[in-house]
């Protein structure tokens, strides 16, 4: 694998290769890398989980990690992303992880740069490493994707997680259903109420209400969103015994999910984060091996 930009670039066998390697890393396999590689994490949007998870994965692989800080870089002097990445390439960086507010930021990089690019989230586009860790978590739980009922709930139109996951899960044989406010539906077809989902769902994937991407026209209060689209204690009780709850986090407690359910028995929210490190180790190893 040369880059990881979008789930669309991955064949089913590519996905399975990554998930298998992640499992080996979870079982304490060592990195299969023959030289000292250097990576830089370029986060132009706030992040705790993804950034820290990548950094942990990089350290576990024994990589050299440069501490790029967007807020004190020459992007303040107007330097383009292309020139920033070319600079890092020139000083010897092998791979960059980039989170950027622009959809498809990587398009302008592909022709000219010679470093491996991992998409850490592009605007309202894709978030393939989150998708892969979600797949890993589902496979860990159910041992398969074929025939699973997956419900994705929330702000589908703005969510890069929803897009990546819906596409990949469908391709892997799962059946994906959406529930969302009409104005956040985008091009997706959605069901109307939780009642259409609760009896059959194997996985409830909650999406974060992204206050920072919405304008003031949204007509929800926290309370009204929670009442209509949030996972309440009552809805939780109606889930199948084997169902699990996922959320890419950060969670808005008592909005997407009742505060008391975040660490409930069916919740895999912190498990997802835990799994993310192994999945990112597999991705980093793959793109670095793709360079030699």
């Amino acid at each position: 694998m040369k880059h990881l930009l979008s789930m669309k670039d991955l064949q089913k066998t590519d996905i399975q290769t990554i998930l298998n390697r992640a499992l080996e890393f979870q079982q304490l396999a060592s990195a299969d890398l023959t030289k000292q590689y250097t990576v830089a994490n370029l986060f132009f949007e706030p992040s705790t989980r993804t950034k820290m998870s990548f950094e942990m994965a990089e350290r576990k692989l024994g990589l050299n990690v440069l501490s790029f800080e967007a807020g004190t870089s020459s992007t303040l002097k107007g330097e383009t992303l292309y020139d920033t990445v070319k600079t890092l390439e020139a000083i010897g960086v092998d791979a960059v992880v980039i989170r950027h507010e622009q959809d498809g930021f990587y398009e302008e990089l592909l022709a000219g740069v010679n470093v491996a690019i991992i998409n850490g989230g592009d605007g309202s586009g894709q978030h393939p490493t989150q998708c892969l860790l979600d797949l890993y978590t589902i496979q860990q739980e159910f041992g398969k994707f074929e025939g699973l009922q997956i419900a994705i709930v929330g702000d589908i139109a703005h969510s890069r997680v929803a897009k990546s996951n819906a596409e990949a899960l469908t391709r892997l044989g799962a059946h994906v259903t959406f529930l969302c406010p009409p104005e956040w539906q985008g091009d997706y077809e959605a069901v109307n109420t939780w009642d259409d989902l609760l009896p059959t769902a194997d996985v409830i994937m909650l999406l974060r209400v992204q206050h920072e991407r919405h304008d003031s026209t949204t007509h929800f209060t926290k309370e009204s969103y929670h009442e209509t689209y949030g996972l309440t204690k009552q809805r939780y009780e109606e889930l199948k015994p084997t169902a699990i709850i996922m959320h890419p986090a950060p969670v808005n407690r008592d909005v997407e999910i009742s505060d008391e359910l975040v660490e409930s028995e069916k919740s895999r929210i912190f498990k997802q984060m835990h799994n993310g490190v192994f999945v990112r180790m597999a991705i980093l190893e793959s793109v670095l091996k793709g360079r030699s």
Copy 2:
């Protein structure tokens, strides 16, 4: 030791154990840790000394240090401290060092998180690692605490250093006296003038005037504070030959202490910082060993 939150949690023997181990580290002892631990330093308030000192201690212990930056983290998206720490726990962090503007920030963490917490300063609460490095510095100088005359001078009410130190030193047998402007006296009993301290003090602990925690009602100018409560050259001359001067820094030169005295013969201000690394090594090693 599971966490280090407040000096109140430490018995006299706990304190002595830490000071002894710090001395061993100063004498080039190696860390007694059997696995690769990871720590993250979460500083939600500005810091040079404490943050850099912890990072140096962590590197000297051979720990893996994640570069968490509060200003570019998901706390900007409203993520709570609890969820941030749970996230770090999920990705494999063993210990967190936290500085936070809220008094007792750690209370909400204790029930739910499974990482070791070291308090790097909580609001106007405690600053136990500063206290322990102050104790180390005093013991290095005098070989004991019993019977020492300690004068704490300045903004006692707002100072987490004052609180931690006064409590611990009294418990260790020292006699602590305070000198401060009446409005910064808090619940402490204070003497009126330097003349009450100068002839007998073994240790002068100056506190930083914390401009960032005061409102505009303070009636001091820099000059008037220095004249009344600052350590001037004249007062310095009246100190006992064996007396030493301490300050947690950053120093407001010519406010708490005359510029020319910061690096004077009796000053231990930079010595304190030097000692801090060994004391923090001892603390980190202790909480990490407390996890296995």
Copy 3:
């Protein structure tokens, strides 16, 4: 070498020693250091290239790198640069790389501090490590300095690169010519047009238009600057076959240089960045060895 503050401090033989050692590092030589040294990079102005290049050099030398962040340090509480550097010294830092907006920031440090100081750019003063990597790049290309025709084009008055380079190159036997808008000429004598340079120049050193250091009185538009002082495709065609183009970057594309020329055959812009790592390894090793 104890510090690296200004090119003026370096004899011709000192320069050649650094360039030779940089070549050895490019040819994969190992660091000749006998203990574990610690460095901190203090960048009080935005930087990608210089900061990342130093960090890469430090890692390649096997140094311990502390992640000082000016924006979250105690300089926010008014701590002076002197006290910040003394603090780092106290906790065990051996060398600091400093970029600071104040010309000659290092003057106030020299008397009191005992760490090695490397000037990473001081206001409109000097930028000696950029100068040395430029010299390395020129020597790599031409094998000599004697008799070379060097044209420095752009904002000479505000450029720390121009000052360092003009002085050093002249001393090494090159002939330096300037081309610039009259208001940015400073104390230098300049030619009038590109036509005076194009037929003879071996090296075109373009300088960045530093929008952040100019007030609103500058009468150029991007287009008019490019037309009169920029390297256009037409001017490029008139260069000698062996001529090379240099720029300290970040480049303002289509201002100092036509966008399409940044990665042209004669451009050494990214080569300069690549070389910078080896030159900085040589400098760091030299000042660290100067401490024992």
